[in-house]
Symmetry: C2
């Protein structure tokens, strides 16, 4: 028995950054944390907490992550969420050895497709990949798009300290562009060569480290010319773009200055301004940022049609934030874009 | 002969984050870079560029940094700046050995006081310190306040990878609070244990690394209880608070969650919300962020009376940004606060 706490709206509410985990990956994480098989202090701290802590937050999140049926649907009903776009939780398989990772994402994507088949009106999903093997990742994107009916690609920022501006990863972008799937660049804890001052102060995760790791990754993609090479590539960022909209003007000024100074030989002129890519190749979701001032700021400097709703279930299951976003000071037409039609267009639902 | 390009305004324009360098520190940086005496890749890359590049940007910045007289005054006149609050340029002496650093800031503060004496209507200044020696730093703050007439303390984020939330540095905050001087927390390039993914992509400096290093430092101070221990301490942040105003809601949510989860034993409950400290203990300047949307956003979520003008001379000497800020969509009374009276109050001018 669940009850919708919200009145029927003039739109469907599609939540676009919603996480799950497969039983196999859940077990693999636990085994790796127990055996010390993964040498990534951010992963060990964060997933070690969610999978082994007996705190209420950790056990509730862990249970909800594993459910792709009744419990999740009841939570969605209670919060007024019509559809979740599901993605394998961060860091997915990106911390694993390449061969295991490749096998595990195939299985995860199959299980995701089955869950969607059981509830096609309530779930859609993104293809998980193992960037460790770019050629296999490209194949999995094609398989996800054509055979599994998945609607985008989920990548959890760095892969064992490597970033997607490295051209060895570009078959992934080529496949995403060819399949017409957007790439959702989800946060990860910062890599070992960056995390120390965050981890020693407890700021490595969603409170701050996530944001700067993913903001950095996005800026690396832009400044290394990924969108000049793949102009039709669409990126989706959660958490209102990890604050990059706040920086548009400074990014343009400092990028122009850095290029002109020739301080780095690899920092080459781009076809457009940094802010142009952030306005033309990127969509933004409100995952974890159900706060009117930052939402309306982003809508204002990026564009109303590029900001979409997300909840970040189960990590931030706060039904009150749905009501708060229902009450945004924007027109009914824009609200329908925000909750429904922009997501339908971006993910081709 | 210089000409003011701006009409007389109903306020004095006080620029609050304006850099200079002493001849001794300039020479010391050059010597250290040449000899490899400083093991900080961010410093070597950034100051190596400004002090040795023959590019127009580098030579102009280097020349302007060294001038505390006619050239600087002419630039101020041309941009309509009535007063600069001067600070020894980042990273100051924080990269040097402690004994050299202590001697060098004394000399730098004396030279700064002399420059102010020569032009008391045009210059005020902040005390430079060597956090490497907290006891001496505390003494220098007291000397700066009482004998030199300086108006705040300048600290350039981390000191050789250490952050001021470490209680060994707290004599600095004690002295600042006792002297009634605000602490301007200026950016630095990220420390060796964080900088790798920024530096390899050319994003270590003002384009992004500065912001996250200083944002991280500020959050460390707040979450480790510095403002509970020193409730009258005032912090000043440039670059509109390094985007922290964008994160107010998420910081509160995630900090509460982290404390409740007991994930880190050192992340203890605070007396107030993270956003309370950002609204009650921190002032914000527009250094490098002369962009109306981000300025008005910050004024709106933090408070009109906590946002002040800064130029970031000579790094961002863009007179057009003064005109843009003269045209902010705020009342004349608020504009006078923004350009003049808030700075007069915070720095007790």
């Amino acid at each position: 028995m669940t009850e919708r706490i919200l009145p029927a709206a003039g739109y469907r509410r599609i939540a676009t950054e919603e996480a799950f985990i497969t039983p196999e990956l859940h077990q693999m994480y636990r085994d790796q944390i127990a055996s010390g098989g993964i040498d990534d202090p951010g992963f060990i701290s964060l997933m070690g907490y969610y999978l082994t802590s007996t705190s209420e937050r950790a056990t509730t999140v862990s249970e909800r992550l594993q459910d792709l049926g009744a419990r999740r649907l009841a939570d969605m009903d209670a919060a007024g969420i019509d559809m979740q776009i599901l993605s394998l939780t961060s860091p997915g398989v990106q911390v694993l050895k390449a061969d295991i990772a490749v096998a595990m994402v195939r299985s995860a994507n199959d299980q995701l497709a089955e869950a969607i088949t059981r509830n096609p009106a309530r779930f859609a999903g993104l293809v998980a990949i193992a960037p460790q093997n770019p050629a296999e990742a490209a194949k999995e994107i094609a398989r996800g798009a054509t055979r599994l009916g998945l609607k985008g690609v989920i990548i959890n920022s760095h892969t064992q300290g490597e970033y997607l501006d490295n051209p060895k990863f570009w078959p992934i972008f080529e496949a995403a562009e060819a399949s017409g799937l957007p790439v959702y660049l989800h946060p990860n804890t910062p890599p070992p060569k960056m995390i120390a001052p965050f981890l020693e102060s407890g700021l490595d995760g969603a409170i701050y480290g996530f944001a700067v790791e993913t903001g950095l990754h996005t800026l690396r993609l832009i400044t290394q010319g990924v969108f000049d090479r793949f102009p039709k590539l669409t990126l989706v960022l959660g958490h209102l773009g990890e604050a990059l909209p706040f920086w548009l003007s400074r990014l343009d000024y400092m990028h122009r200055g850095t290029v002109n100074s020739k301080r780095y030989d690899f920092m080459k002129p781009l076809q457009k301004k940094v802010s142009d890519y952030l306005r033309e190749n990127v969509y933004y979701t409100t995952a974890g940022m159900g706060w009117e001032p930052a939402i309306t700021f982003t809508q204002s400097v990026i564009g109303m049609h590029r900001v979409m709703y997300a909840m970040d279930y189960p990590y931030q299951y706060v039904p009150e934030e749905v009501s708060a976003q229902d009450a945004l000071p924007i027109s009914d037409a824009d609200k329908k874009k925000f909750f429904q039609t922009t997501a339908e267009q971006v993910f081709r639902l």
